[in-house]
């Protein structure tokens, strides 16, 4: 015991300890009172303990966040009554991998104090045992006994002007009564590690901006900024929380909007916990019938729009050409088979996605194109198709003259092909539906995939099945060959673009492999056309060897890149950087940087993109990377960040999932001091400009 006591003494000497003074200066903090010159007998007076903090250091709010600790105030007994402590609005402070809630530069903690002594007592002697923690990255604890001695008079208290001003400044930052809150907070869902709430502005308060929300209970909710989506005029916040700790009926949160704040409860958690547990058995996120119907509809419309995308249009056009000369029976059969191909492929892709999802993999839509092998296969495919369109070779007399069975296979595989080439062209309406598919229970998710497929196959089916629409197709003629040749060029364009994707994925080696392969394929075809059957065999064997060799090389390159763990990413990033980001104002995605920038009061814009995503590239070229928009970002001191999903990246997949998305593009905007909003997938100057106009 004696030894323990001795150790206590040593401990105290190493930290900061003072006794019985009115102010302390314990680098990096200076603590003093904000108090009147004299108190009014028996009247409550709000006074403050004022902390001045050196730059870069911070002290804590009542919920300190991931680490740290709030200051502690133990008032000694005396002839006075001290009311509950009032904590001013905190801010998020990023410290390395953690988020803290607290204060930088200065803060005052406020207490209502009432002298309660007999009338004869003419002096108030207040004393408090104070403990605080001040941190930069490292932390220094401090202890002090502070006293405050002031006269008591029978007249209203009087203040030094500057003390009163300071006190008033912090009083403005104290949360108002929950009953006065202009926002209604209601629980949407409590999951194992997420809490989702809706915040609706009450009528007549629509002028207030979207509130930021801080959890009051650090035990129950993580301090990281919630993810926010806007639904009409209400906001949906998703908080992450530690599993298994929130068992209470309600939990308090602090809403902050434009320097006003309200501490109010989220109620009904006990009930939600139960219903969520029941729901878990049937589905983990079952939308009501109406919203599922809406999602299915969006998926269908998205599928129809896919037909117009540059990657699908040539394939589809050829399909249309092929039915021009056919009888209605043939083309109906073709349409059914094409539709079957599309649906089976979508369904299979959906199943693969679901299986991988249940295995815990972090993947999303477009994942097909995250593999360079698939990209190379598509390059070969498009290359051969364009050569064929140009008439360099026919797919053999035999194929066209084959029996119906093979033609059927043709229509079916066109359907398969259409889905594969559609992946990079995630269009409008599809993002929401695909994002939902990633989190919905299996049957609903597959329903969405099927809906997409129906949409994709719809125009072709329409033309084939309805004679009056079919009649609108032009009559056959020489123009068909010309059109076919012309269509080779969009295909070649696709090859050029896919080569670029491969280049981003594998570097210059990728180009070398692909171009060599293309050259040798042409050579093989030419050999086959020009010489005898033996040569044809040789040509086929040569092609197979070349293809096998290419794939092995790809695997080798990937393996080589994977050895130093982050190299793939950095290669890809630098490639994307040199080819795409001429204006290198963009920062690579980094969650910590976002938090830091936000706590420093900067707005943040995040562009989730991929080289293989055409919509993304279009938005980039026509809006984001234009001088006009870049200037807007610069003027408003926005941190602009690019999350490149060209290659597999679980971090980015996870970030997307937080917004219920798993496809790109996704554009996020964190307005100064507010939570994130998700912008439309098709960007215009207007969309970006309006982000900054609001404030003016």
């Amino acid at each position: 015991m004696v030894r323990s006591f001795f150790l206590f003494i040593i401990f105290f000497l190493t930290s900061f300890q003072v006794s019985a003074v009115e102010s302390v200066f314990a680098k990096p903090v200076r603590i003093s009172w904000l108090a009147p010159k004299f108190f009014h007998q028996n009247e409550a007076e709000v006074i403050g303990l004022y902390f001045q903090i050196d730059p870069e250091w911070h002290v804590y709010w009542k919920n300190s966040g991931d680490s740290g600790a709030p200051p502690k105030f133990n008032f000694h007994e005396g002839h006075y009554h001290v009311g509950p402590i009032q904590w001013p609005i905190p801010k998020r402070i990023s410290a390395a991998h953690l988020v803290n809630l607290g204060y930088e530069k200065e803060v005052a903690f406020l207490f209502p104090v009432t002298p309660t002594g007999p009338e004869s007592e003419k002096e108030l002697k207040l004393s408090v045992k104070l403990e605080w923690l001040v941190c930069k990255v490292e932390c220094i604890p401090g202890f002090a006994d502070l006293t405050l001695t002031r006269p008591i008079r029978g007249q209203p208290s009087e203040w030094a002007r500057q003390d009163k001003d300071k006190l008033f400044y912090f009083q403005q930052k104290i949360p108002a009564n929950a009953a006065a809150s202009p926002f209604k907070v209601s629980l949407v869902e409590k999951k194992e590690d997420q809490l989702i709430v809706d915040v609706v502005p009450l009528s007549g308060t629509s002028t207030l901006s979207m509130p930021d929300i801080f959890p009051v209970e650090g035990e129950l909710i993580h301090p990281q900024p919630p993810q926010v989506t806007t639904i009409n005029s209400s906001f949906r916040y998703t908080f992450s929380m530690p599993a298994g700790r929130l068992n209470d009926e309600s939990v308090n949160v602090l809403l902050v909007s434009e320097n006003q704040s309200w501490e109010q409860p989220i109620v009904g958690l006990g009930r939600a916990g139960l219903s969520a547990a029941v729901d878990d058995k049937s589905s983990d996120k079952s939308p009501d019938g109406a919203s599922l119907l809406g999602l299915l509809f969006f998926a269908f419309i998205g599928g129809v729009i896919l037909n117009l995308m540059p990657c699908v249009l040539p394939v589809l056009s050829i399909k249309f050409l092929s039915i021009i000369r056919t009888s209605i029976q043939t083309r109906r059969r073709e349409a059914v088979l094409y539709m079957a191909g599309v649906l089976v492929t979508f369904l299979s892709l959906g199943c693969v996605l679901l299986i991988l999802r249940s295995a815990g993999a972090a993947i999303g839509w477009g994942f097909q194109l995250q593999s360079p092998v698939i990209v190379l296969i598509l390059i070969i495919l498009f290359w051969l198709m364009s050569l064929n369109f140009l008439g360099f070779f026919e797919f053999g007399e035999s194929v066209t003259n084959m029996t119906g069975r093979f033609q059927s296979a043709g229509a079916f595989s066109t359907g398969v092909l259409a889905v594969f080439v559609a992946a990079p062209c995630t269009g409008p309406f599809m993002g929401t539906a695909l994002g939902a598919a990633a989190v919905l229970p299996a049957p609903a998710a597959l329903g969405i995939f099927l809906s997409l497929g129906l949409g994709l196959g719809f125009p072709f089916a329409l033309v084939s099945f309805v004679p009056s629409v079919y009649k609108m197709l032009p009559r056959p003629g020489v123009w068909m060959d010309k059109l076919k040749q012309f269509l080779a060029f969009p295909l070649l364009g696709t090859v050029v673009w896919l080569m670029w994707v491969l280049g981003v994925q594998l570097g210059t080696d990728g180009w070398l492999i692909a171009t060599t392969l293309m050259l040798l394929l042409v050579l093989a075809i030419w050999l086959g056309k020009t010489f005898s059957k033996v040569w044809v065999a040789v040509a086929y064997i040569a092609s197979i060897v070349v293809i096998a060799f290419s794939f092995i090389s790809i695997k080798k390159i990937q393996a080589a890149q994977l050895v130093p763990n982050n190299k793939t990413a950095s290669v890809a990033a630098s490639m994307a950087g040199s080819t795409a980001d001429a204006a290198s104002a963009w920062t690579a995605y980094d969650r910590n940087l976002i938090d830091q920038a936000r706590s420093a009061g900067r707005s943040v814009f995040v562009d989730f993109t991929a080289a293989w995503c055409i919509t993304c590239q279009v938005n980039k070229k026509t809006v984001l990377d234009t001088e006009h928009i870049q200037n807007i970002f610069k003027e408003n001191n926005v941190l602009i960040m690019r999350a490149d999903w060209t290659n597999q990246d679980p971090l980015i997949t996870q970030a997307l999932a937080e917004f219920d998305r798993n496809s790109v593009p996704v554009y996020l905007f964190y307005e100064k001091g507010a939570a994130a909003i998700v912008l439309p997938q098709i960007l215009t100057f207007n969309v970006i400009e309006s982000l900054f106009k609001k404030k003016e």
Partner: protein, 199 residues
């Protein structure tokens, strides 16, 4: 269709899996970390044993709170005497607060009269991040089947004042006492307090 299966198969090969952290009720992440004497410790080595992991940083005031008051050493002694394996883990990166090389780690442990089974050196933060260690101290209790039974703070008072320890409820002792007696652990997860782990 064959082509499609082939493509799917290829895609499977390129998928990577998300990482985990230590959550009560779930298996603890496997680790393989050298201690200050150069011996490698693996979770699999301690099958059939109770294991306590204590995230440590000699310069953190909250670690000092528990070592300066002899609280941590006493706790280590009580439970290592009962056959519990107690591993102090230092995840401070080179150049950051609390980093020690092997020799210094041994010296610091000796000076502090630590009763830990071993001091693990995790300067790359691999083990720390696998467990999701946020602070020093951050405590984990793992049962003989390798399942996490407790994760969080050492006790219920986040003051840095050692005098407060006497009045504090020690969550680690509570978890170990209950779990080792085959009873239900009352608090399996709490918010850890202290300095940030210095990755």
């Amino acid at each position: 269709m064959k082509v499609f299966l082939f493509l799917s198969f290829l895609m499977m090969g390129t998928v990577s899996f998300a990482s985990s952290e230590a959550v009560p009720g779930k298996p603890a992440p496997a680790f393989e970390t050298k201690d200050a004497t150069g011996k490698v410790h693996k979770l699999a080595d301690y099958k059939d044993k109770w294991v306590v992991l204590e995230w440590y940083n000699k310069d953190c005031p909250y670690v000092k709170k528990h070592y300066g008051s002899n609280n941590m050493q006493a706790l280590q002694k009580t439970y290592t005497d009962k056959g519990v394996v107690w591993l102090s883990v230092n995840s401070s990166a080179k150049g950051k607060e609390g980093y020690t090389d092997a020799a210094a780690a041994l010296r610091v442990a000796k000076d502090a009269k630590s009763n830990a089974t071993a001091v693990l050196l995790d300067e790359k933060g691999i083990m720390g991040k696998a467990f999701g260690s946020k602070t020093t101290p951050h405590m984990f209790v793992i049962d003989p089947h390798g399942v996490v039974v407790y994760a969080g703070a050492i006790d219920d008072n986040d003051s840095s004042d050692p005098a407060i320890i006497l009045q504090s409820k020690n969550y680690v002792a509570m978890a170990l006492d209950a779990a080792m007696a085959g009873k239900k652990v009352e608090k399996t997860s709490t918010k850890p307090y202290g300095c940030s782990t210095k990755y």
